[in-house]
Symmetry: C2
């Protein structure tokens, strides 16, 4: 049996890739990477956030986040300042350019936004069923195994 060639697995991978492709379409339009777009989006919604908070919300490590932020600052899309309250911390907010890029990516032409809206309109019963089965799968995937010894 080919473990890596499983109908269910493939289904999850396909959707994962499709979602990423849509985000990439938006990001490309604005000359951004997907993770850069996500970062701008998050900071736009929570200005003056710190690095750790941002990293946590995007499920990245601080070191990865630090690099992403650094490149966004270099490109002039992000403003990074030392927090006055805690001189170890930084505060992040978009520059004018950053706001504009974000708008380019997430505006009316956004493929991702449109499709997510479509999916939101899905039959609630189907959605509940889906989430329920996903939960079953998550339980199987994350349950600590018993010892057969």
């Amino acid at each position: 049996m080919n473990l890596l060639n499983n109908e269910l697995l493939d289904s999850f991978i396909r959707i994962q890739k499709a979602l990423y492709s849509l985000m990439k379409e938006d990001a490309d339009r604005a000359g951004l990477t997907v993770v850069q777009l996500k970062a701008l989006y998050k900071i736009h919604r929570s200005p003056n956030t710190g690095l750790r908070e941002l990293a946590a919300s995007l499920k990245l490590t601080n070191s990865t986040m630090s690099g992403v932020v650094d490149r966004l600052v270099s490109s002039g899309l992000l403003e990074r300042e030392i927090s006055t309250a805690d001189r170890r911390a930084i505060t992040l907010k978009l520059t004018e350019d950053g706001e504009q890029k974000l708008q380019e990516a997430t505006g009316d032409d956004s493929s991702f936004t449109k499709r997510i809206m479509e999916i939101t309109k899905m039959d609630p019963e189907d959605k509940d069923h889906l989430l329920r089965i996903h939960q079953q799968i998550m339980t199987i995937l994350t349950t600590k195994e018993e010892n057969h010894s």
Copy 2:
């Protein structure tokens, strides 16, 4: 509305991460990376395969695959030879060490294998329903949008 904080989206991301964690557990046990483990697994099942074929089956570009293979050859887990039939092509097969590492990762202790087996035993009706809804979502995600102009 926070597009990146969607119940369904999060559900997919969670499962994706859980699957990856399980594979990583197996890979770590053998001192491999996840993609290295996948590569060894595929080559074990289809010895003497070429680079392009391997890249396609793992949904990676040739350039990425080339690097992964190169590091596996350097670690002595993979044998790379020039094909006698086509001198442009290479043939790949596991070394003794490679076979052993693969066994370490996918043997009886494999978390991934166990869980996939568990999932396979899922209620067929639930599984069908899941695949059907996934298909609906895929259709939404990949359908070319109509012009409202």
